[in-house]
Each structure stands twice: as structure tokens, then as C-alpha cells.
């Protein structure tokens, strides 16, 4: 699964640290999601969607093989 979290973060002018604080997770978690090393839970995906005010599908996209 790929995502455009980095782009969304740039649009909102948020650092990884800022976003992590808003979501109550570590900066490492945000970094791992952006690098596609970690797929977040539904709860965290929905929280991201709420912060960026867009749907989950606009942030995350399934890839071939998922």
C-alpha cells in the first residue's frame, strides 16, 4: 500500500513531529508510514483523514499484490 502522507503534510505545512503530536503517536511512526514500512491501523488512518480533512482513500492507495 502506498500513501501521499508527505504531500498532505506539506500542504498543511506540518512537520512529522507536529503531525505525531496531533495524532498522539511517535515521530518514528509517521516516518515509517511515509516510507511505506508500516501500514497504520484503521483508527490511525481515520485520524489522519480527520487532520487532513480528506477521505482515507485520498491518502492511501492499494498497490498490485495487496
Amino acid at each position: 500500500m502506498k500513501n501521499n502522507l508527505k504531500v498532505q503534510r506539506a500542504i498543511k505545512d506540518l512537520t512529522q513531529e507536529d503531525l505525531a503530536k496531533l495524532l498522539g503517536v511517535s515521530r518514528q511512526t509517521i516516518n515509517s508510514i511515509e516510507k511505506n514500512r508500516y501500514v497504520p491501523s484503521t483508527v490511525l488512518a481515520l485520524k489522519l483523514s480527520k487532520v487532513f480533512e480528506i477521505s482515507v482513500n485520498a491518502i492511501f492507495e492499494l498497490e498490485n499484490g495487496d
Binding site: A20, V25, S26, V43, L44
Partner: protein, 144 residues
């Protein structure tokens, strides 16, 4: 029956999430380092026979405290990494404990052929860990 399953699930999930606060990590490492230094120090002095097993147990307890202490920010990534690390530790630990006595036996046979003994001292501990893991897994699966 449904109520029993629900109660079983909530109890297991509550226990499954048990962790010590982050401050305990420092306490755990202090115990580990302290026992390690004492283990080195006792080589230079005569000590009673009970000291060695007590130090070993204290070190294991220290590592256990470190292992079950929370990170500064314990989020879902940490929970996922923790689950993976326990899974790997269980598999590698069991394989190590199975192979290690034979390696020791082979080395002892080469060095002192008459007195080599095959010691499977880890059998009960491994059996217990694996049985507990299988029982908990089945209980969680049944109630989820």
C-alpha cells in the same frame, strides 16, 4: 455461554496489554548492569553457592522488566514491533535451546570424551512457554 466468552476475552485482552510504565525500563537496566558487575566481581572472591543462582535470576528479572516496560511513546507501531520481536524471540529461543545442548555435548566429547553429558535442562521451561503461548492463542481465537 456468550457471556463467558466475552468475559474470558476481556480478561485475556486486559492481561495481554499489561505493561510497566516507561520509568521501569531504567530500573530493569540498573538491575541487569548491577548483577552483571556483581557476577564479574564474584570471580575474584569466595562466595556461598546460593549467590550464583540468585544473581542469574535477578538478571533474568531485570531483562523481563526491560522487556515489558513501555516506550516513552507507546503507540501502535511499538505494539506491532513488540509482537514481532516476541514471535521471533520465541522461535529463535526454542531452536537455540534445542540445538545448544548438542553443540555443548559435541565440544565436551572432543575435549573430554569420557565425561561428556547431554543436558536438556531447558526442556520444562520451553515446554511451559510453548504450551502457554498455544493455550492463550487458542483462547483469544475462540473468543474473538
Amino acid at each position: 455461554m456468550k457471556d463467558i466468552c466475552e468475559s474470558e476475552r476481556s480478561k485475556l485482552q486486559r492481561w495481554g496489554k499489561f505493561q510497566l510504565p516507561n520509568t521501569y525500563k531504567k530500573i530493569g537496566w540498573s538491575i541487569v548492569i548491577g548483577t552483571f558487575l556483581l557476577m564479574i566481581a564474584k570471580k575474584f572472591v569466595d562466595e556461598p553457592t546460593w549467590v550464583k543462582p540468585v544473581l542469574r535470576n535477578a538478571m533474568i528479572l531485570g531483562f523481563l522488566i526491560v522487556s515489558i516496560s513501555k516506550e516513552k511513546i507507546e503507540d501502535e507501531l511499538m505494539a506491532s514491533l513488540r509482537a514481532t520481536s516476541y514471535r521471533l524471540a520465541l522461535i529463535i529461543g526454542v531452536l537455540y535451546a534445542l540445538v545448544q545442548p548438542y553443540v555443548t555435548y559435541a565440544i565436551e566429547s572432543l575435549l573430554d570424551p569420557g565425561n561428556a553429558e547431554l543436558d536438556n535442562g531447558y526442556f520444562q521451561v520451553l515446554l511451559y512457554i510453548l504450551l502457554v503461548q498455544i493455550l492463550f492463542f487458542n483462547a483469544l481465537k475462540r473468543s474473538s
